[in-house]
């Protein structure tokens, strides 16, 4: 995965969300339509064109106390509306490491 942290131009190819890490504890969060953050991808605001993406990103970046490192990430939206991460990196961010941790939590 080319790291999205190098994202410069905003151009989206399909449905996308804005994701970041929550400032106080670092966990993965998604920007919601209610201008907040949620750890649940299904609550993320979905954007479908570059202007929407730009606006959502700008609003997210402005909320720097809530979350850090905001960027646009692709998602797949199924017919029933179920949202899934659009690539392996985002899949790993959502569900955790693929390797089994030495200590189960």
């Amino acid at each position: 995965m080319t790291s999205p942290l190098e994202q410069k131009k905003i151009k989206i190819a399909g449905p996308s969300v804005v994701t970041a890490n929550r400032t106080w504890d670092g966990i993965v969060v998604y920007r919601t339509a209610a201008q907040g953050w949620s750890a649940d991808l299904s609550e993320a605001a979905i954007v479908r064109n570059s202007d929407e993406a730009k606006a959502l990103l700008a609003e997210s970046v402005a909320d720097d106390v809530g979350a850090v490192g905001a960027y646009i990430a692709p998602v797949q939206v199924a017919e029933d509306g179920k949202v899934e991460p659009g690539n392996l990196r985002e899949q790993i961010r959502r569900t955790g490491v693929t390797i089994g941790q030495p200590v189960q939590v």
């Binding site: 392996l88 390797i99 200590v103």
Partner: protein, 551 residues
């Protein structure tokens, strides 16, 4: 062990309260992330995929048992019960909460551990041979000099805002276990004809996007002049270093572009100005540092105790002893390497329980001391040979006696896409699969010494360029693809590996490695010819043919 002085203790404590205040201001919104980032990086805090990552320094790889217990405590209390030992004598915690970090730092400071110089464009943790002070035939304990440089460069303004990060490694043995040739500056402690202690100085090594093996810039710099010489190098670097382009900012690029001759002339000139300044080191300073390194009160012990003779009848013990136990400078003692590479496990990870238990074993069998090496393994540096069988049994119970040190499953791997925000592909699952493929000890032993190094992106934290077999994860059309090199090495004959051909998919990597190994077994002239020597003799071609014949 090394005893910090009052200055260091005060400094570390001040840093903790300063950071506590900074975190508070960050969480209240008084500081923006942009303002805070440089502050957190100065304290070893990165932002990774799932959480903040916290990198803690283990200067020259020496830990006391109470320090290891404290690392276990941090893993348990603030993280998910484990830590990851890295290739630069650091440990990383992967799930730390920013709000709790000041407490974690404070807990570590109580035992003299900190996270300074673990990130940012400054002088990083000076690394050394994990066998320092105990390796037979060593010129002198290289940590004395690591410590001198550490003291001089910690928070030194000239070294705190470099064009890019800067890494120094020191060895004092003929066999280089500190990988000095892939560091910005590599120092090899030697004696000149007059018997004086000094250094061969190498410069411009590094991996990443543009890898280089360091070149010798000066064959002998007297010990007393080493700080001024390093400073001269840094001044030339500071003057020319490419701050405009992050990819060109490392000293390796400058040395390459200027050429080693011109670079060394510039350094020489600079050095003549500052050589006789206050940077010249008084003997007392070195003596003071030397006196702070204490060595155990070794007993007079037999070379071959009965316990060891009896245990030799057990093939499992022997298998472990042969690759984990190394000669010590004192008769009757050994250095024991502890593999953090269990079959199917992530390389370099240790649980809090393992760390605690190991601290107890260090107290019982190694005068309370533990070492951390760049291969992501640990070591107990002073084990009486008579205790080896008992130690082995105890390690085995903890899952820490995998008999694979220096074998094909002793893999170096970076965190890769499972943790790292810069990654292109996963590294750890590749390592796990390889440890399963080659889990059979007879097979691994038949193959002999073979280092596999894996990185999840071109930053090369997993040292793939210098692996006997190097595996680099890249991304192609949204898929993980792995480029494979052979013939690299990180020791005194350091070399960069050569690509064998087009990249292969995630699922194919272990098969390809198997093919390479089979080719080697068929091609080697005799069982003692190591993989790396066969590659040197024959080049990439026969391996390439074998791998791509059926692909």
């Amino acid at each position: 062990m090394y005893a910090y002085d009052e200055i260091d203790r005060t400094l570390v404590n001040e840093r903790v309260s300063e950071f506590r205040d900074q975190v508070k201001r960050r969480l209240s919104g008084e500081l923006t992330e942009d303002e805070f980032k440089i502050l957190r990086l100065q304290n070893g805090v990165y932002l990774q995929l799932h959480a903040y990552m916290f990198r803690v320094a283990i200067p020259y790889g020496t830990l006391a048992s109470n320090q290891l217990r404290r690392l276990a405590h941090v893993a348990r209390k603030y993280d998910r019960g484990y830590g990851h030992f890295t290739t630069r004598q650091n440990i990383q915690f992967n799930w730390i909460k920013l709000a709790e970090l000041p407490d974690a730092l404070a807990d570590l400071a109580e035992v003299g551990i900190h996270a300074m110089q673990t990130s940012g464009n400054n002088m990083r943790n000076v690394t050394s041979d994990q066998w320092a002070g105990v390796a037979p035939g060593e010129i002198e304990d290289p940590r004395i000099w690591s410590e001198l440089i550490r003291q001089h460069t910690t928070l030194h303004p000239e070294f705190s805002f470099l064009p890019r990060k800067f890494k120094i490694a020191i060895t004092a043995s003929d066999h280089d276990r500190a990988a000095i040739r892939i560091h910005d500056i590599g120092l090899r402690l030697i004696k000149n004809e007059k018997g004086e202690t000094g250094f061969e100085v190498l410069v411009g090594g590094g991996l990443g996007r543009t890898p280089f093996i360091a070149k010798t810039i000066k064959h002998f710099v007297h010990g007393r002049d080493i700080l001024s010489y390093i400073e001269a190098i840094l001044r030339v670097y500071n003057q020319y270093g490419r701050r405009d382009n992050i990819y060109k900012a490392r000293i390796k690029i400058l040395v390459h572009e200027l050429g080693i001759e011109k670079f060394s002339r510039e350094v020489e000139e600079e050095w003549q100005h500052i050589r006789n300044s206050s940077l010249q080191i008084d003997d007392e300073v070195i003596e003071d540092i030397r006196s702070r390194f204490t060595y155990p009160a070794y007993e007079k012990l037999p070379h071959m105790p009965d316990e060891l003779r009896q245990a030799a009848a057990d093939p499992d013990f022997e298998a472990w002893r042969k690759n984990s136990v190394s000669p010590h400078k004192v008769q009757g003692y050994s250095i024991v390497t502890i593999s953090l590479k269990p079959t199917g496990g992530p390389p370099g990870d240790a649980t809090a329980e393992q760390m605690d238990a190991l601290a107890d074993l260090a107290d019982k069998y190694s005068f309370g001391e533990i070492r951390v090496g760049h291969e992501q393994n640990l070591a107990l540096p002073h084990v009486a040979k008579r205790d080896l069988p008992a130690l082995w049994k105890a390690l085995d119970k903890l899952g820490l006696a995998t008999p694979n040190v220096n074998l094909i499953t002793d893999i170096i791997a970076c965190p890769g896409l499972d943790y790292c925000s810069l990654a292109n592909a996963r590294s750890i699952p590749i390592a796990q699969e390889l440890t399963r493929r080659f889990a059979n000890h007879e097979l691994a032993n038949l193959i002999g010494r073979l280092h596999i190094n894996i990185s999840g992106c071109i930053n090369a934290c997993g040292h793939h360029h210098v692996g006997h077999i190097g595996i680099l994860g890249v991304e192609k059309n949204g898929e993980e693809v792995y480029q494979i090199t052979i013939g690299g090495r990180a020791d005194e004959s350091a070399a960069l590996g050569n690509l064998i051909g087009p990249g292969v998919k995630f699922d194919e990597v272990a098969d390809v490695v198997e093919d390479i190994v089979e080719a080697y077994l068929a091609l080697r002239e005799r069982p003692e010819e190591l993989f790396i020597d066969t590659v040197k003799r024959l080049g990439v071609e026969p391996f390439k043919e074998r791998v791509y014949a059926t692909r």
